[in-house]
């Protein structure tokens, strides 16, 4: 059981969701984050104030999956999020100690397997 974290471009979030759907990965949380991953800073001007903005808007996916689903999930994230330019994002796979489905108190693999599987 792993937690897959994918940090992607906001404009690619829909493509990632589609790719995950095709890979039959159904349980997903997303959040808006700001981050810096080596991409180009942008310079903004507001009247006399010039700033360099190093943080870019990103979308962070958190997906808890059973071991069999780790590779399809990572592949789906890469497929959906890649543009080939600096700033496409990162994927982190973390061991997951415990998972609980609140409704049924199912734990671990049962909890991360979609209902009806």
């Amino acid at each position: 059981m792993k937690l897959v974290i994918g940090i992607v471009r906001p404009e690619k979030a829909n493509d990632v969701l589609e790719a995950l759907y095709r890979a039959e990965v159904r349980g997903v949380s997303i959040s808006r984050v700001q981050g810096h991953g080596g991409e180009l800073d942008r310079v903004e001007n507001y009247r006399g104030t010039t700033v360099k903005v190093g943080l870019a808007e990103k979308v962070r996916f958190e997906i808890a999956v059973s071991d069999d689903f780790v590779d399809p999930t990572v592949e789906a994230l890469c497929e959906g999020a890649r543009t080939g330019e600096v700033g496409d994002g990162k994927i982190f796979v973390l061991p997951l100690e415990r998972a609980v489905r609140i409704r049924t108190s199912e734990t671990d693999v049962g909890a991360v397997t979609p209902v009806g599987k």
Partner: protein
């Protein structure tokens, strides 16, 4: 329109026209707000700035040659250059009015400005800002001034008796059908038809629509160039018609989706104001109410159907302005009443000839607006790129075209000062996408 010969300047009329001119100018930032609310948050400023750029550019081109081509002389297709650079535009009354020629010029300038801004609705979220400014300058002269001459300035439609009180020809059909051509030449946004591209602030949209309606009292009420009967009639009809359009729009929304929508309501206000624009000074308040109700239907159909096509005419200028303007122009030919307007009867009051000369512009004006805009944008596109790159479109037009954000948080922004020794040079080696 009044037909007083060798009139003096009338202080009451002039006072009203000064106010009306200011009201119409306010409509362009109001349109900016309306449009900005309808786009995604990353394109807010770029969308608004197209309207601000329209004020800057169209005011200057109008003073230089646009006004003259529209309002100097009675050439069939286009006016002369006698008033170029405001030559002869003075404190003397404009022929046929009781207001100074300068005020008449300024009032007409605000019409040219908002019409240029209206067309931007077709190309927001992907057209390059520099290309838009070039387009705005040329379009204001080659399309708007020509159509204004046809409808208001003594051109062939006006000479043959076509009635257009406040700009169904130049402003509404002119912008709507040009918008369709612009959308086709510039092309769809990269995610159009693939992702949900939703309005980011419905309150901006409602506030913009409300301010547009407010300004429209100057637009229609001022188009009599006096405080006389036609202007008063148009002013009151500008209250009644959009109200009727709103009610029918509510019913259509309920029928289609079981709920009345806010953005639908904002759209209905625009459609109602547009349809009464050409007809305002010519039809009775009763017909104005009915016209508002009728006008909802074709515009609603176009606005609901358009997103199912491949044509990304993004903010539905065609449905809201082109189609409603056409409805209003034709409606004059049916509902006009001499007892109300002192000028002409429509077919329902015995003059089918008037209807003919309302149907002819409904064909000729869309054809010219569409054709001329299509060719103009193709020509500009041959000289400079019309669209931002896909990469820039993805990042958003605000940061890529203007270097600003509408909703800047300041998080992660490092102040660039000479003392801090922070250089604006970009530190990371990455090919700058073009």
């Amino acid at each position: 329109m009044s037909f007083l010969a060798a009139a003096q300047v009338d202080s009451g009329d002039t006072a009203w026209m000064l106010v009306a001119t200011a009201l119409v100018l306010m409509m362009t930032p109001a349109l900016g707000l309306f449009y900005a609310g309808l786009v995604r948050s990353k394109n807010t400023l770029n969308t608004f700035m197209m309207c601000i750029a329209a004020i800057a550019i169209a005011a200057v081109t109008w003073a230089a040659v646009g006004y003259s081509l529209a309002f100097d002389g009675t050439g069939d297709l286009v006016g002369g250059l006698g008033h170029a650079f405001l030559n002869g535009v003075t404190f003397e009354p404009r022929d046929g009015t009781t207001i100074p020629h300068l005020v008449f010029f300024a009032f007409q300038a605000t019409f040219c400005i908002i019409t240029v801004a209206l067309v931007s609705g077709a190309v927001v979220e992907r057209m390059r800002f520099d290309a838009f400014m070039v387009f705005a300058a040329l379009w204001s002269v080659l399309v708007y001034a020509v159509l204004a001459h046809w409808g208001f300035g003594g051109g062939w439609l006006m000479e043959n008796g076509t009635l257009d009180f406040a700009g169904g020809i130049a402003v509404e059909m002119g912008s709507g059908f040009s918008a369709l051509a612009a959308a086709l030449v510039v092309g769809a946004r990269k995610d159009y038809g693939r992702q949900a591209l939703l309005p980011h602030n419905a309150v901006y949209v409602l506030l913009g629509a409300g301010l547009l309606w407010f300004g429209w009292f100057g637009f229609n009420g001022g188009s009599g160039f006096s405080t006389g009967d036609n202007g008063v009639l148009a002013f009151v009809n500008t209250l009644l018609t959009p109200a009727a359009t709103l009610i029918v729009w509510f019913v259509l929304d309920l029928w289609r989706g079981r709920q009345v929508t806010a953005i639908g309501a904002a759209t209905a206000i625009i459609v109602g104001c547009v349809v009464i624009t050409p007809a305002g000074g010519f039809i009775s308040p009763g017909w104005a109410l009915l016209l508002g109700a009728i006008a909802a239907i074709p515009s609603y159909a176009v606005i609901m159907g358009r997103p199912r096509t491949r044509v990304d005419e993004t903010l539905d200028v065609l449905g809201a302005h082109g189609i409603a303007g056409l409805t209003g122009i034709v409606a004059i030919g049916l509902f006009a009443q001499t007892s109300w307007n002192g000028v002409a009867d429509g077919a329902l009051y015995g003059d089918a000839h008037q209807l003919l000369w309302q149907v002819i512009p409904a064909i000729a004006v869309p054809a010219y607006a569409f054709g001329a805009t299509f060719v103009l944008l193709k020509a500009i596109g041959a000289v400079m790129p019309l669209r931002a790159s896909e990469h820039q479109e993805a990042l958003g037009m605000d940061t890529t075209q203007h270097g600003e954000e509408a909703y800047a948080s300041g998080e992660g922004a490092i102040l660039v000062t000479p003392e801090a020794g922070i250089d604006v040079e970009l530190p990371v080696a990455q090919p700058q996408a073009t």
